[in-house]
Symmetry: C2
Subunit: 138 residues, 2 copies
DNA sequence: TGAAATCACTACTATTTTAGTTGACTTTTT
DNA sequence: AAAAAGTCAACTAAAATAGTAGTGATTTCA
C-alpha cells in the first residue's frame, strides 16, 4: 500500500519545476535540488514527458518546463504515469486475472475501495503542494 | 499501492471461517477450500491468531474458529495484522524516517491521504463480504 | 498412557519488484 | 562543427514478496 520512490520522485520533480518558474530548468539543476542523480532524473522524467506534464526543450539553452498548470496536475495522474494504474488488487485493472477462475464475491469490494482511493488522490493537485511549500517558506 | 497476497489470503481465510460455522475448522480444510498449501496457511494464520481474529483449538477435534463477529472485523484491521501499518509513505508511520532531513511540505498531504485510505478500509467489514457471498450463492 | 491429531515456530529458498547505474546515441543551438 | 542537452536500452544491486520444509509442542481419546 505504498507509493514507490518513482511516484514520489516524479511528484517532487514537478514541484521543483512549479516552484522554479518559466525558464527551462536543467536536469542537472533538478537533480542537485532534489538530491537525486542526474542520470536517474533523466529516466524518471521520460514518463512525465510522455504523459504531458512537462515539455522538454533541447539544445544549449534547453531544459524542462511544466506543460500544465499545477492546478491541473493531480497526484493520481502523476502516480499512474510513474507506476501504472492505481488499484488495490490486480484484477480491478485486468479482469482476465481473476474473472475466469471463479465469480469472486470480493471483486465489487476491491473495485469500490480502489475507486475511493483514486478519488482521494485525484483531489490532490500540485497547486496544493506549491501552496504548502510557499506557506512553509514564509 | 497493492494489497499483498498475504493481506488478501488473510481476508479469505476469515471469510472461509465465517461461512463455515461454529465447529472448529481444520487448516487442511481451509487450505483445500482456498487453494493454498496447508503449510502456508499455517504461517498466515499466526498473525490472525495473534490479532485475535481467530482462536485455535489444539488436539484431535481441534482447528480454528472465528473469535469475533464478522461485523467487528474490518478490512483495515486484517490488512494491518498481515502486512503492518497501512500508509502511502513510510514517514507517516515512522517520523524519524523523514522529519530530520527537512521539514517536508508534502508530509501533511501524505498523512491526510493515508487517513482517507485507512478510513475507507475501516468501513469495510467481513460481514459485508459474507453478505455478498451469500447473495451470490442464492 | 501413549499414539494420533492438530496447531506453532524457525530457518531457508526462489521469484519478483524496486531502485539505481552505465554508456552509447540523437537532437538542437550557437 | 562543437558543445550542450535530452533519449534510450541494457545491466546490476538490493529489498520485498511469496512460498517451502522440517521440527516441536499440545491436546484428545481409545
Amino acid at each position: 500500500m505504498k507509493i514507490s520512490t518513482k511516484g514520489r520522485y516524479g511528484w517532487r520533480i514537478l514541484l521543483d519545476l512549479a516552484l522554479y518558474g518559466e525558464t527551462p530548468r536543467l536536469m542537472r539543476e533538478i537533480a542537485a535540488s532534489q538530491g537525486i542523480s542526474e542520470k536517474y532524473i533523466s529516466r524518471l522524467i521520460v514518463p512525465l514527458n510522455k504523459a504531458g506534464f512537462v515539455r522538454s526543450i533541447r539544445g544549449v539553452k534547453g531544459g524542462f518546463v511544466l506543460a500544465k498548470s499545477p492546478a491541473d496536475i493531480t497526484l493520481l495522474a502523476v502516480v499512474e504515469a510513474m507506476e501504472g494504474a492505481v488499484a488495490v488488487v490486480e484484477c480491478v485493472v485486468d479482469k482476465a486475472f481473476c474473472a475466469k477462475a471463479e465469480s469472486c464475491s470480493a471483486c465489487g469490494m476491491w473495485t469500490g475501495l480502489t475507486a475511493e482511493i483514486r478519488q482521494a488522490m485525484a483531489k490532490i493537485t500540485l497547486a496544493d503542494l506549491v501552496a504548502a511549500e510557499r506557506l512553509k517558506q514564509a
